[in-house]
Amino acid sequence: MRLLMTSVLLSAVACEYDFELRNMPQDPLLCVECLPGLSDTTFVRVRVAVPVGNAAADVPPVSGTSVCLSVNGEDVPVMVYASGENAVTFYSLPELSCGDVLEMKASLDGLEPVSSCTVIPGAVPEYEVEMNKRNGDIVIVVSIKDDQTSEDYYAVGFARKTRFIDSRGDREEIAYGRLELTDRETYPDLDNSGVMQLDSFRSFYVLNDRGCNDSGIKTVSVTGYYSKDLWVEDDDGIWGHGVQYQVTCSRLSPESYNYLRSRYEVKQDGLAYHGLAPGNFAYTNIAGGLGVFGGAATSSSGWLDNI
């Protein structure tokens, strides 16, 4: 019914024509994305945002960007991780703890310099993982214990690792984001496109702490295709395949949450995108630019055996 009503509304638009974009920004900006957390490496990705009102604007090469980071007022070294035509990625190795205050500045000749600050969120969330089989599917339920005295934000990610031992050898394949939400709660499903992990494609669910039950437990339930482990031992050895699952749960700072939600809204291409509803598109905490500088405290369940 939701799809039908949405389709009826959107399909009513019949004719298009050009018009002049008035009062739009004319100057390019720096777009900086960084989600420092408790891992040993902090990545900062910088790109140049080209204004639609002046697409011919003179845009300097993004490789000329410089970035400064400080933790609790002390500068930390920042090095170039990768540099390309469209983006340059920096990395730093500060030892971060919950409550640390981070500041970031970035500049590129010809563009307005940008800056931001954030705080690493409190302790990583406590959560439990329960796995069950239902109707041929596997259901994984993550129960997060929420502090009901504060407003909290979380990100939950799932990974599935399949190990094969066959004629082609012993190998593993890891897939992220192949599990779909079980219930119909509108938790957003966000493709981070390498913001948190730069060497792999990952998806995670971003959620707030509203809707907790009376015990202060927030649950996320996902469902995926269930594949039973099959291991056979014969004279040639052990062969077959087996599956393991991993859950990562992060506590996000408000900036991280608001930004990731706004990016999700843009991808949704829903009612707000077509001007029929209010849209949460424009969040940024980068002064003078776009993007996000927001903390995240992450913990992982490790690889859990199949049921």
Binding site: P28, V50, G53, S193
Partner: protein, 722 residues
């Protein structure tokens, strides 16, 4: 003159030259009493000049019926949308965004009873049947003390009493709907009735159409929409000093959708056939009932006591069933059902008293108390053989509200009047009490017989919040009260202007306003048509608004010709920190608005109407920046909400009425109306697109083309029995 007209003229410090049999002594015939407007329908421009009231427009039935009729159905809200200071929002819809308001902050009153669901066909028509509307008071500022509960405007609709002398009625047939109205005396000169019904017949066309389409098909579908409403009133002139009125209104919309597709499964021994089905049922509507006593006590006291009940309900049910076959289990049907219901009830009693202790003072005071009921509910059920899961949420708010007001219209000198009032409006819900004191002040300085300068200040609070996730008036929207976590919305408005009645039938008014709004609510959750009932208090962020502007009204009126020209220069902004850290334009921030309306009666048989509407384009959010992803593909980024101005909006509407008197003294009218004569496809939304040269262009999407319609109306008289 009707009873209400008497109230009006005494209300506006106008010498009362004639009045109904009900009334008064000879002394009172010429007594000039001063009070603020009680109700309205036939107050003329010079009478408005006399009052302290700012921001008031009177719209009588003649203006509604003689104005443009969308799809040949005259409509109250479509007339109000042409007025200065009012933005209409989405084209064709019944949106009223008054002085920068949100659309859900307008108080609609039908014969003294608040109305919560004011539109049919998702906003295409309003719930007010023009055949029974006597007149409409539309307030944009300077709200009298007897009105409260909404921030931006008051639309006070009065229906006509039945004729006490003779029977007559109206029958009308249009492309979308048909109307029948009939009135007359139950007891001549004592008791009268007035009944009007209206019903659409889109379903009469769609149901057989789909039946023809489905014939012989394995996959079937159907759709049907209908609306109806009914107004009824009975008036009893109990005595020379009192009368009793009973009124009833009922309206309902229903939309039904159904589709099925045949599925085949190849079993071990045979081919099995079943159907996947999808159905949807949406309905919404109102019921209003009231009983009122109007009386006169002594020589200068008028009073009214009204008991009322108003109920609004909406329901959406969607069901999906999926058929499959298993050789062991047989036929397997998995189904899902989701329903959303919302009910709002308003039960109360109110009393108003008008008293003139002295020729330079007119006191108005009143009280109101009532119960508000808010009952939204959502249910979900999924079933699979051997497994049924259910879920849902419902909430029940019962609020008690009251209001006390008092105001005094004082004639300080021959050229200076002041209306000072105070309204106290508490509300209690779930142990939480909200107390609001709302001062209301208006001043009138009479420069000369033809020119007056007025100014006003008003405070308004709104306890009822329209919980909506879209800008559309959908049955999925529901009303919720203020709670511990949701404060009432609040506005302050100052208005001032110069009003003049010039020679040769010319009228010129210039009025300015400045308005601030606090504790506004805006949805910040994921894109959905269905408001999140469980978390509505937190999924709607709190913010502020401000609006200011200037309006110019110019009019020329003769018995045959009526020309009006309106111009509005306005700004409207919002500040919601959850969306953007700063002020940004409201989506209905139309900088300039011009309306030119002209009507001319060529003869008793032919009259014509034309209106040209123009306003600066609204605002919506479009991508302001393009950022390449790691593969160089463009990714859209936005800089602030409502950053793009849509193309300017303008259209021309014309209407022609052909009258004919029949031999029996009845009158038939053929109406031909053309909406959007030059077929300008005004933008409803926009996006950006990359051109071949690498630059970006804006793309506007237009929706509504030229719409010609016609209707037939018969005004009939019933011969009087000898």
């Amino acid at each position: 003159m009707t009873f209400y007209n008497f109230f009006i003229k005494t209300a506006l410090c106008i010498p009362v030259l004639s009045f109904p049999v009900l009334a008064f002594s000879e002394e009172n015939r010429m007594h000039e009493a001063c009070v603020d407007t009680l109700s309205a329908s036939v107050v003329t421009a010079d009478e408005i000049l006399v009052a302290t009231q700012t921001g008031l427009d009177h719209i009588d039935q003649k203006r509604i019926l003689g104005g443009f009729a969308l799809l040949s159905t005259p409509d109250v809200i479509k007339v109000i949308q042409t007025l200065p200071g009012v933005a209409s929002g989405t084209e064709l819809m019944s949106g009223l965004y008054v002085h920068g308001g949100n659309g859900s902050d307008n108080l609609f009153i039908l014969d003294g009873v608040p109305l919560y669901q004011v539109s049919h066909l998702a906003g295409l028509f309003s719930s007010f049947n023009a055949d029974v509307v006597d007149g409409v008071d539309f307030y944009k500022s300077g709200f009298p003390g007897r009105y409260g509960g909404r921030l931006s405007s008051v639309i006070d609709v009065k229906t006509r009493d039945g004729d006490f002398e003779k029977y007559h009625g109206t029958f009308s047939v249009g492309l979308i709907d048909g109307r029948l109205q009939f009135e007359g005396p139950v007891v001549r000169d004592r008791v009268s009735f007035n009944v009007a019904v209206r019903r659409s017949w889109l379903d009469a066309l769609s149901v057989p159409g789909f039946a023809i389409y489905n014939k012989g098909r394995k996959d079937r579908s159907s759709a049907g929409y209908s609306f109806y409403d009914a107004n009824a009133s009975m008036v009893w002139k109990a005595s020379d000093s009192g009368r009793l009125t009973a009124r009833f209104y009922m309206g309902r919309d229903a939309l039904k959708l159904y589709s099925s597709s045949q599925e085949k499964a190849y079993g071990e021994d045979a081919v099995h056939v079943g159907n996947d089905e999808t159905s949807g049922h949406v309905s919404w509507g109102n019921i209003l009932a009231s009983m009122a006593w109007d009386g006169i006590a002594g020589s200068s006291v008028n009073y009214n006591v009204t008991a009322y009940y108003s109920r609004s309900a909406s329901k959406i049910i969607s069901e999906i069933s999926d058929w499959s076959w298993d050789d062991e289990a047989g036929e397997i049907i998995a189904s899902a059902m989701e329903s959303n219901r919302s009910r709002t009830g308003d039960l109360g009693v109110k009393a108003d008293v008008s008293y003139a202790p002295h020729k330079n003072h007119r006191l108005r005071m009143g009280m109101k108390c009532g119960m508000l009921l808010f009952r939204p509910e959502t249910r979900r059920q999924m079933s699979y053989p051997g497994n049924v899961s259910e879920g849902g949420f419902s909430v029940d708010y019962t609020a008690a509200e009251a209001a006390l007001y008092a105001e005094d219209e004082m004639t300080l000198t021959e050229w200076l009047k002041v209306n000072a009032g105070l309204r106290y409006a508490p509300m209690f819900v779930r142990g939480k009490a909200w107390h609001n004191v709302e001062p209301r002040v208006a001043v009138q300085f009479r420069c000369c017989d033809r020119v007056a300068i007025k100014a006003s200040y008003t405070d308004m609070n709104q306890f009822a919040h329209n919980v909506a996730t879209t800008y559309l008036d959908l049955p999925t929207n529901c009303w919720m009260p203020s709670t511990e976590r949701v404060a009432p919305m609040h506005s302050r408005q100052v208005a001032a202007g110069v009003y003049s009645q010039l020679p040769y039938g010319l009228v010129l008014d210039v009025e300015g306003y400045y308005k601030t709004m606090d504790h506004l609510r805006e949805y910040v959750g994921s894109s959905t048509l269905f408001p999140p009932l469980e978390s509505w208090e937190t999924d709607f962020s709190e913010g502020r608004g401000r609006a200011y502007g200037m309006e110019v009204k110019f009019g020329y009126c003769t018995p045959a010709t009526d020309v009006s020209l309106y111009y509005t220069l306005s700004w409207s902004e919002r500040h919601f920190s959850a969306l953007y850290n700063g002020w940004y334009p409201d989506r209905n921030d139309n900088r300039h608005k011009i309306t030119v309306i002209a009507s001319h009666k060529f003869s008793e048989k032919f009259d014509v109407y034309a209106a040209w509407n123009y306003h600066s384009g609204g605002h919506m959010s479009v991508a302001a920046y393009i950022v390449p992803d790691k593969n160089g593909n463009p990714v859209e980024f936005f800089d602030r909400p409502n950053n793009a101005s849509l193309p300017d909006y303008h259209r021309l509407d014309v209407g022609f009425n052909f009258h004919k008197k029949t031999k029996r003294g009845n009158e038939s009218i053929w109406n031909l109306s053309i909406y959007n004569v030059y077929c300008r496809l005004n933008a409803v939304n926009a996006a950006i697109d990359k051109k071949e040269d690498g630059s970006y262009r804006g793309i506007a999407y237009g929706l509504v083309p030229i719409i010609p319609t016609f209707s037939y109306t018969l005004k009939f008289n019933c011969p009087r029995r000898r």
